[in-house]
Amino acid sequence: MTTPDPRTHPEDELVLLATGHPVPPEVAAHVDGCSPCTEEVAALREVAGLLHEPPDLVEPPAGLWDKVVAELDRDDREARDERDRDAAPALTVVDTAPSPSPSPGRRVRVGWLVAAAAAGVLVGGLGVRALDGPEPSPATVVLGETSLQTLDTRQALGAASAVRVDDHLDLDVETPALDARGGYLEVWLINRDLKRMVSVGVLRPGDGVQRFAIGQDLIDEGYVIVDISREGYDDKPQHSGDSVARGTLAL
């Protein structure tokens, strides 16, 4: 077969070929020996095949847009609150007398939660707001930090840092953009080996820096991936599988 003359590319007949219509024999012969035309027919055939049956659209229910707006408005409010808090000193070295949250144990159980809530000792709370406190306090040194990001779009939703306060090792978590959506947020440390994880406590969303007692032994054993899960009140103490943000402490 001779090299086809570009001027004779049967451009407008290619659609016919691609859609299975008959074409003059000389057109078919040309395309057989012309790779640009063959490629174009293949491309046109693919597009034509996809267009052939337009899919039926399923519209979202009325009112769903309002939920989107409500969620974005909540973001905005939290960002404003965040800016207000930014007037306080940064996390790196802070003079504060934090009240470390009571260690919730390695597994949060709903029973514990209920008891804790009843006793008014639900974890977290003070953090940065304590900076306004007048009393002198131990220095807090940040050992390692990470931003907490969604797993898919890597949207930064907060930050966590391992901090040493005197001889304690604590985990500070700040998640202005998280929302428990009717459940609660739980903080986990996942081991580097990705086989083990421990619960370090329950997070109150959008409530400044919250501090969780962890310990050097956990870090030494490789529990350095901070994970925030959304949990339901479902009597299932294990991780729900709904990781809303995650980050690995840079130690």
């Binding site: 407008d12 659609v15 693919e46 659209l57 519209e59 081991n191």
Partner: protein, 190 residues
């Protein structure tokens, strides 16, 4: 979803304004593409409640991640499809994880281990149908008549009262334009 044909420049304008932080642009994107997003979610998840959650999350994520929208790299629709896939994959992974133990959660929930993308062809078909709607006339109608209604080019020419050569050229050029949209959906830039 809007059915009126819009020029590409209008759509690009949505991208530019959305990236710049316009809530109005997000609402326009919702009006135009929430049906596309929701259809993908419903078909991939088979559950209206989960699908509504995904559709909501896609537009919330689109707003929070609007800086990742590059108007020069593709359409807003292609970008939203990318986000939708991630959200659907999250739900699939979450469902799978619900029946496993906590150890498996740690292993499976890593960012790198997403489920395979849902119905590739459905996403492409939805995007093409959307792109066709904004192809402009008489090109869009010529393609619809020829490819959906399966009229011959001669019949299309008669319907549109246009010369046969013009109709053929419209159809071919239109299809080649649509093909570029097809490349967007396989180019994962979410």
């Amino acid at each position: 979803m809007s059915t009126e044909a819009e020029a590409d420049t209008d759509v690009d304008d949505v991208a530019v304004r959305l990236r710049a932080g316009s809530r109005d642009a997000l609402e326009e994107a919702w009006t135009r593409w929430s049906g596309l997003v929701h259809t993908l979610a419903v078909r991939a998840l088979g559950d209206h409640h989960d699908a509504e959650d995904v559709t909501q999350q896609v537009f919330v994520a689109a707003w929070r991640g609007r800086h990742t929208l590059d108007p020069t790299r593709g359409s807003v629709a292609g970008w939203l499809v990318g986000i939708t896939r991630h959200k659907i994959a999250d739900v699939h992974a979450q469902r799978a994880r619900h029946v496993r133990d906590a150890e498996a959660v740690a292993r499976e929930a890593l960012p790198t281990s997403h489920a395979p993308p849902p119905d590739e062809r459905l996403a492409q078909r939805l995007l093409l149908a959307d792109a066709l709607a904004r192809l402009g006339e008489p090109r869009a109608t010529a393609i619809r008549l020829a490819l959906v209604d399966e009229l011959t080019h001669e019949e299309v020419a008669r319907r549109l009262d246009l010369p046969l050569g013009t109709v053929k050229s419209h159809i071919r050029r239109g299809l080649l334009t649509l093909r570029q949209h097809l490349e967007e959906v396989t180019d994962d830039h979410a």
